[in-house]
Symmetry: C2
Amino acid sequence: MDRGDLFVVSAPSGAGKTTLCSMLVNEIDNIVFSVSHTTRPPRPGEVDGKDYHFVSEQEFERLVAEDAFLEWARVHGNFYGTHRGQVMEKLAQGLDVILDIDVQGAKQVKKKLPAAITIFILPPSWHVLEERLRKRGSEDADKIKLRLQNAMKEIEEVTNYHYTVVNDELHEAFLELKTIVLAERSKTRRVLANKVDLSALKPGPDSWFLS
Amino acid sequence: MDRGDLFVVSAPSGAGKTTLCSMLVNEIDNIVFSVSHTTRPPRPGEVDGKDYHFVSEQEFERLVAEDAFLEWARVHGNFYGTHRGQVMEKLAQGLDVILDIDVQGAKQVKKKLPAAITIFILPPSWHVLEERLRKRGSEDADKIKLRLQNAMKEIEEVTNYHYTVVNDELHEAFLELKTIVLAERSKTRRVLANKVDLSALKPGPDSWFLS
């Protein structure tokens, strides 16, 4: 039985998901990102095995055929996937693994790993979401409207997630996310696997009770 | 749909359950104890409706016949019960309710209210449990052995509880318990009922997106 948990975090763009997930990995012990496989070429400074596992299309297709991915997708002509074996290995080591993926990827993961814990990050209101995306200033109106169009569809999926964190104030949202991760560590399965041995909770040969 | 959650907390005697539950109610907002009904006469200083609802045996039996209790039991000739309607009323107000009850009572509650969240408090080891009970000094050896006998049976039930808190160091155990209660408040059902309205997460008539 796995000793860690897989956390799947989704959100519409502009909700602050990536920032929140990074805070979680930086500020809590024993939780790590999953390193994705991709066919996209490395950008300057990116390290193979740390930022991504950079693989050829042929290799990626082989892994898809082997059902090696918990989820995969094609984005702008490149493939991205989450390798099941690598996630399972970390869980078995007692690490929590965090997957920062969209609602489609989350659906694939839930099918293959029903024990995954799903968290949705919501903006506090539609108005705030619009403002955040427009203030980024790096995209034209059409592209922002496309993101908002997607956001509208994605937000409808919130009811399929176990937990929901409203990111109004960043630090507050981070504390909620942290609370969710830490509470899962108190689930009975995890406590009995990691923290206390039921055999230590029976009278031993030298106990007063049996004297 | 209820806006609060019912937390059922069980433990063998000596695990520190009552202390931990009191800390929770004193230090967290919006969580209250359920006030039990009992046929036991009030002790000096006990207030009807605050410490217990003091009722006659006839009244208690009427309530049992009406299926008004989430759980009830007879202890040392007196009846004790948890009134379902009173618990539901508090949950509907958005309050969390905490029930400090034994494993038998917890089983009854889970049957009637499957959404209840169950937490087991464990001592760190059998040896510590023995020491704690013996150091109390208020009971003779036979009575302590009877408690330990019960503890052994109760501890076997831990695997039926959602969460487990090991009470080694009291403050640490309290923080874990608090984390569990707060994380449940981030469950999607609760966030959508109490914190954010999905209709506020769609573009309104004045939104830029629709312009």
